[in-house]
Point group: C2
Chain length 185, copies 2
DNA sequence: AGCATGCCTGACCGATCGGTCAGCGCCTGA
DNA sequence: TCAGGCGCTGACCGATCGGTCAGGCATGCT
C-alpha cells in the first residue's frame, strides 16, 4: 500500500478549492455560483458537489486555516489588559489580516450574514473580545468606536490591497493602529 | 384645481421608499427582494414595480440625497492640499457618514458591486479623491493605506452604530480621524 | 349614463440559484 | 475475466429572483 506513492491524477479537490478561493475573493460568497467555480476549474457543477457536501462546506474548508489562527489570537489576548492588550491585539490582528487577505476579501459585506451560520457562530464572540482589547478594556463609547474603526478599516484595507507585498502593508497598518487607538486613561 | 389641496389616499410611493430603506439597511440591497419590501408595506410586488421602474430605480431614489451631499463634499475638498485637505475632508466626511448612516449601511459589501452600475459610476472617482485628500496628497503608500483604513473604518462603524445619537458618534469619529491620519511631511 | 384615468393586483415569465440522482467510463484487485 | 468502486456527468428538481401584462375597481369629468 506504500502510502508515499504519488496518486496519479485526482487533484480535482484542491483545484476546486483554489478556484473557489479566487472567485470568492472577487465576487464574494453569495455572488459566486457553483457554476462559476465549476467553469473556472473546467468541470461540471455536479463534480463540485461531489467533492464538497454543499456550498457552505466549501467555504468552511476554505476558511479553516484563517479561523484556526483567529482562535489562536483569541487565546493570546485572553489574559491582557490596558495598553498591553491594545498593543498585542494590534500586532496579532494586523499579522492575521495581512496573511489571510484573501479570506477576508471573500467575506466582504457578507460577514454579518455568514456569521449567523452555526459553523462560524463563535467568531462573533471573538471579534467582540478583539474590539474590547482594541479599546484597552475601556468602557468609554469613544474607545469602542475607535476600536471598531480600526478593526473594520484594517479588514477592508487588507481586502483591497491584495497585490502589494506583505512587508509594505504590515508596518503601515501597525503604524495606523498605534496612532488611531485611544490611549488608556 | 387648487394644488394646495391634500391628496386623499395615495402615499404609497413614500411608504415603499421608507420600507425599502428599512429593509435594505438590515438585509442589504441584493439580500432584500421586492417581495420583502412589498410585504413590509402591505401591498403586492407588482405595486412596488408600478411606483418604481425597477429595483435599481428604487435604490437610486433612496441614495439621491446622500449622493448630492457627497458631490458637495467633493467640490469642497477640490482646492485643498496637505494638512488642510486632511482636516476638511475629515470633518466633512464624518459629518456625511453620520448623517447618512442608513444609506451607508445598505451598501455593506455591495459597495464595489453597485458602483459598477452607470448610475453610480462617478462615485468611484469621488472616493478616490477622498482618499487622496485623507492622505494629504502624499504619494507615500503608508499615507494612502492609513487613508483607506480611516475611510473604510468610518463607513463600517457608522453602519454599525445606527442607534446611538449623532452627538456621541460624531466627535468620537473626528478624534479617531485626527489621530489616525499620517502627518504630512 | 358613459368613458377615461390612476392605482393596484394575481397570474405568469424566463433566468438562475443550490442541490439530487441515475448512470457513464475507467481502473484495479481478486 | 469480471465485479465493484471511484470520479465524474447531464438531466432534472423546487425555490426564488426581477420583471411583465391584462384586467379589476374605484373615482371623476363630460
Amino acid at each position: 500500500m506504500l502510502e508515499g506513492m504519488a496518486r496519479a491524477v485526482p487533484e480535482t479537490h484542491g483545484e476546486i478549492l483554489a478556484a473557489a478561493a479566487r472567485r470568492f475573493a472577487v465576487t464574494g460568497y453569495k455572488g459566486t455560483s457553483l457554476q462559476d467555480i465549476a467553469g473556472a476549474v473546467g468541470c461540471s457543477k455536479a463534480t463540485v458537489l461531489y467533492h464538497f457536501a454543499n456550498k457552505e462546506a466549501l467555504l468552511s474548508e476554505l476558511m479553516a486555516p484563517a479561523i484556526a489562527v483567529l482562535e489562536a489570537l483569541d487565546a493570546r489576548i485572553a489574559g491582557t489588559t490596558g495598553a498591553a492588550a491594545q498593543e498585542i491585539a494590534g500586532e496579532c490582528f494586523v499579522d492575521l489580516a495581512v496573511r489571510f487577505r484573501r479570506e477576508i476579501a471573500l467575506l466582504r459585506g457578507e460577514f454579518s450574514d455568514l456569521l449567523q451560520q452555526p459553523a462560524f457562530a463563535h467568531i462573533q464572540q471573538i471579534s467582540e473580545r478583539l474590539i474590547t482589547a482594541f479599546a484597552g478594556h475601556s468602557d468609554r463609547p469613544s474607545a469602542r468606536i475607535a476600536a471598531l474603526v480600526v478593526l473594520a478599516g484594517i479588514a477592508e484595507t487588507c481586502a483591497e490591497f491584495i497585490d502589494i507585498p506583505d512587508d509594505e502593508l504590515r508596518p503601515a497598518l501597525l503604524a495606523v493602529v498605534r496612532r488611531a487607538l485611544e490611549p488608556v486613561t
